[in-house]
Structures are given as C-alpha cells and as structure tokens.
Symmetry: C2
DNA sequence: TCGGCGTTTGAAAAATTTTCACGGAGGCGG
DNA sequence: CCGCCTCCGTGAAAATTTTTCAAACGCCGA
C-alpha cells in the first residue's frame, strides 16, 4: 500500500495541510516542523506527487566537478563525458573549482541540485562530502584519481604502469641522466606515475638525476625545466607527469638551443590533442579517455540499482605513443 | 483569477484527467493530445502544481550548448562562465554537440530539463529552437556569435574591429602580400573578422593575395597553410581567423623552414592561453572573455525580470596583443 | 498595555492526481 | 477469416493533495 500524506500527518502529529506545505518550497511553515515531517516522510517512504514529477524531470542529472580546465586533458574528458551522457538521455551539470582547493564550500550548492551521481576529476573529495553523498544516495565516481581515505568508485588509467613504460622506453634508448618534472605532490596521479617510473630506474641500477615540481601547469614546468637545464650535469631525458608540462619542457629546451630529442628526450603523460601537433610531436602515454568515460557511464547508468556503498575501482591500461620527442 | 486545469480541459475539449496526465511525464496519453493540451495551457498561463514546485527546485539552471570544445577558447569560456554562475548561486548544465551541427535534435532533451536560460556558443541556433524557448520563457543568449535570423540576446567581441586592427597592424609593419586563413564560412565570427580585415586592406589600396579555409581547426589550417606556402608568390603575412589555426600556421611555416615573423608574419584571434607560450608568442586579438561572461550573467541573472522578447546585443571591444609572431 | 502586522496553523474548499472500468486497435493462434 | 487476448487511451469518479480562509499566536512599536 502506498503511503499517503494522511499517514505522515498522523504519524508526525500534524495536519494534512502541514505535510503538503512541508513539501512545497516557499510556503509558510516552521522550519523545525518541516524538518520533522520530512523525516517521518522518509521513514514511511512518502513523496508528494509534485516532488515525484520534479524528480522525474530532473532525473538523470550527473554533476561533474572539475578543478583544472586549464589543462586541455580535462576539456577532452568533459567533452567525451557530456556526449556519452547525452547519448543515454542524461544531463551533465558542471562545477569548476579553483585548482587545488577541496570542495567542501560547494557541498551545499552541489547537493541542493540533487544530482543522481557525482563525477570528480582533478579535485579533492573530502570525506564529509563523500558521507553527505552517501546519505543522499548520490553515487560518486572519482575520475583519473584514486583516494584511499574515502570509499567511492574510481576510474583511472594505470598510472603506475604508465610510469614504468616511460622509464623502460627512456632506458632502452640509452638515456642515463634522467630528470623528472613532477605534478602536484599529494595527487594519486603524481605519486603513482613517479613511483612506477622510479621503480624501473632502480631495477636497472639507475636513479633519478634531478627532480623538480611543475604543479601540472605550463608555467610551473617551464620555470622548473629552465633551472634544471642550467645545472652543470644537465639531464639527457625528462619524464614530465603530464603533457602540458612536457610541452613546456620542449619549449624551455628549445629556448636554450637544445635539440629535442637529440640533446634531451622528453616524454609526457595524457596524450592531449596538442601532443600530436607538428611542432611538438610529443612522445607520451595515452590515457584511454573514451574507455574511462564509458566505464564511468556504465557505473552510473547501468549500475543505477547497485547500492551506493558497493564501490568499484577500475584501472585501465594506457598506451605509449611514440612520436618525435623521445 | 488563476487559471485551473478545468478551464484548460474545457478549452482543449478534453477531461480534467487528461490535463493532469499531460503534465505528468510517463503517463499514458496520446502524444498529439498532450501537445494540444500543453499548447492551450501555455496560452492560458496554466502550470500544474507539480510542475510549479519542480520549477522552483530546478530554478537557476543555465544550459550551455557548446559545439567545439576542441578549440581551447571554449573551455576557457566554459570555465569562466561556470565560476561566474556559481558565484551567484546558479548551476550550469552543459551540452556538447558535434561541430557544425544544428541543435534541433537536442531541443526536446534540452527543454525537458527546463533551464532558466540557454547560452549557445559555437553552435547554430535554429529558429524553431528559439521559438520553443520563447514559448517556455527561457532566455537565450548567443555567446561569441550573432545571428540575424533569430531574435535573441547576443554577446560578442567586436569581430569587425578586431579584423580591422589585424589588418592595420600588418600594413603598418609594411606587409603587402597578405594571406587569409578563414574559419567556417557561415559563422558570424568568420564573416565579420574577414570583412573588417578586407576593408582596411582595400582602404589602403591593397587586396588579399590568397585565401583559404581552415575550418577553425588545427589540421584544416595546417593543410591550407602548407599549400598556400608552396605557391610561387607566397604571402609574407597571414591573418588567421582564430588562434589554433594561427598556431597551425606557425607550425606549417617552420616545417617549411620559414622564420616567423621575419619571412612570414602571423596574427590570430582569441588569445587562448597557448598563444602566450614561449614557442609560439602569437600576436593576436584578445577577446574580453571575462567581460563577455559577466555580460551574459547580468543578462540572465540581473535581468531575470526582463521579458524574453526584449533582446539586447552587446559588442565588446577586443584588444591587440602584440607578441612575437607579427 | 494596546493595537497592528506578519507568521503559522488546521479545517474546509478547491484542485489535482490516481484508480477504475470501458472501448477500440492491433497482434496471434486456431 | 475469426475470435480472443492484450495493451493503450479515455472520462468519470474516488482518493489525495494543494490552496484558501479564518483564527490563534507572538512580536514590535507606540
């Protein structure tokens, strides 16, 4: 038997009118009373017809939180995700947040929109946010990011293997003075790429000659590479934790009159469209964006009935794209 | 007196039940009949209570339709717009559509989400869509695009003046064999930039030496420039209708062993972040993205009470950024 | 202390949604 | 080809919800 407003009213000790009012935004009712009614309603599983159609209308909304749209990799992800969601009749809400901030300030705003699912990319999910989402039954997927401190779904490229591939490739080319331009230290992408890379070097009896951080930005990397190249024993190869940093490295090397790859091999990570442009021809690890996005969509869309606390982590293989820079 | 379902039913010649069904998604009713009822409802100004609360819940949603996220200019716009809307407590829904398609297929999906406003950038708005939006009271803003065939708001950079500035600058530098790489012929951005550019040349007694189209893409421009540079009387300057095409032009010129700007001056349009990168240092016309976006937000947010058929067109000045490529 | 004035409330009226039964269209097996 | 069955669309009526209305309450300024 379907629960009615009458039952809720009786249970909460109020009139039917009050129940109706609790469900229509903007009507004059005491906040506490509304809260109590809503709570009873949840217990009994009651929703007003208005709320019901509202939910149907806004059904299928997925919210994407992106922290770094300046890195062309994320627009690529956004474009792919938007099209994939449209294809299954869902909508994509986008929040852009300043890089390296966490999303706690946005929590109320994001939850107010009642999305079905939340996709977080290049931003830090706080455990408070994760918990709030679980309570509201909102599925969360971390894209291109793994966080061990929260229990949510995650889809990422195999960054560790990618780092290994990069190192193996450089060693096979006979490079021995190898430098590293890191991203942002407390991101899983940075840690895993670096770890895989370092591992292979150590297995081959090598170690990283020089290491600097480029903040995953063009400018940060440019400055870091410039100073690294002015050292006495400058490296003959550079692994950059993402593509824009690698492009900056190429620019910095050229600025110094060095030839890429003759004097300096450079290898990136992501394979953004610009990596294939003629003046760069960047050798890089391609992230399987399309596959990552379909994984996200299947988690959200096909797995709509899966309970929110049953989480999956997908690690998809990247692919070394050999072009001219290494 | 507020209109009721009874009146709508009488007017449309159906039962009250039918009216109710027309407003609840998923109920069994003939599509034609629903259409007719909805039309009468709009005439009388009737909305079901369910629809009413739904609208309050999803209030403040703005839908962005973007056609070309591969051009870094649009992610820049997206990022700026998303942040500006967040700041005033609104949400941004994003639709990505394949370049050069119009949006008629998406119309039902977009309208189903009942946004408050629609921002269209790098996509063609059809008059059917515009009319549907007007009927639903959805405000439409064309961003970086002007269309004379539909009566909607528009915000754009002064493309005509930008084209003039580019030409003036090249002429002042003594360039006389000037080529043009166009974008997509039936876009206002292309037309106006080209027209302004051509005007100044003619005023100075010059004309365009060679003209080709690059489809606003890197690859398209690269191919066009390659063939243009292999002509006997190759140009000594090139105006490209956007920045990625200009970057492609620089790459193509270098590939041929030409020096930029000594052998070939290149000037672009947009000022995307990459234009400032060290290996390009592209001279270009900067679009005032921040101002354009605030204009859009004020049109949508501050002008929320302005009737939808009262439309404004804002043309904001661009700015010539002189770097190293011309 | 005494009126406004605005908010909150339940009862009742009004309106809407849902159920129910019916009629007709189309598919399927005999 | 016919009958039967199912499924869709429909209006009337029942059930449910929303809105109106008038009353009660508290707050503030005079």
């Amino acid at each position: 038997m379907k629960p009615t407003a009458k039952q809720v009213a009786h249970e909460a000790g109020v009139s039917i009118s009050a129940v109706s009012r609790a469900f229509s935004p903007g009507s004059s009712i005491d906040a506490d009373k509304r809260q109590r009614i809503l709570q009873v309603a949840v217990q009994l599983g009651y929703t007003s017809p208005a709320r019901r159609t509202a939910e149907v209308i806004s059904a299928g909304t997925v919210t994407l939180v992106a922290g770094d749209l300046a890195n062309p990799f994320y627009p690529l992800v956004l474009d792919t995700l938007a099209k994939a969601l449209q294809a299954v009749g869902r909508q994509l809400l986008v929040y852009a947040i300043p890089p390296q901030t966490d999303m706690d300030q946005l929590t109320p705003q994001i939850l107010a929109a009642r999305p079905n699912a939340l996709v977080v990319t290049s931003a830090r999910l706080t455990s408070g946010m994760a918990q709030a989402c679980r309570q509201h039954g909102i599925k969360v997927v971390l894209l291109n990011r793994i966080q061990r401190d929260v229990r949510v779904n995650a889809v990422a490229c195999d960054n560790h293997a990618g780092g290994r591939d990069a190192a193996t490739f450089l060693m096979a080319r006979g490079r021995r003075r190898i430098g590293l331009i890191g991203g942002i230290a407390d991101t899983s992408t940075h840690r895993e790429r670096v770890q895989g890379f370092r591992e292979v070097l150590q297995e081959g009896g090598q170690s990283i000659l020089a290491e600097a951080t480029g903040d995953y930005t063009y400018r940060g990397s440019y400055v870091a590479v410039q100073s690294m190249l002015s050292r006495k024993d400058r490296p003959d190869a550079l692994f950059c934790c993402n593509d824009i940093m690698a492009l900056a490295a190429i620019d910095a090397a050229r600025e110094r009159g060095l030839s890429v790859p003759a004097d300096l091999s450079i290898i990136g990570f992501d394979d953004i469209p610009m990596a294939g442009w003629t003046s760069y021809r960047l050798t890089t690890i391609r992230q399987p964006v399309t596959r990552m996005v379909s994984e996200v969509v299947s988690l959200i869309h096909d797995g709509a009935h899966v309970p929110v606390d049953e989480t999956t982590t997908s690690i998809l293989p990247g692919k070394l794209m050999i072009r001219g820079s290494a």
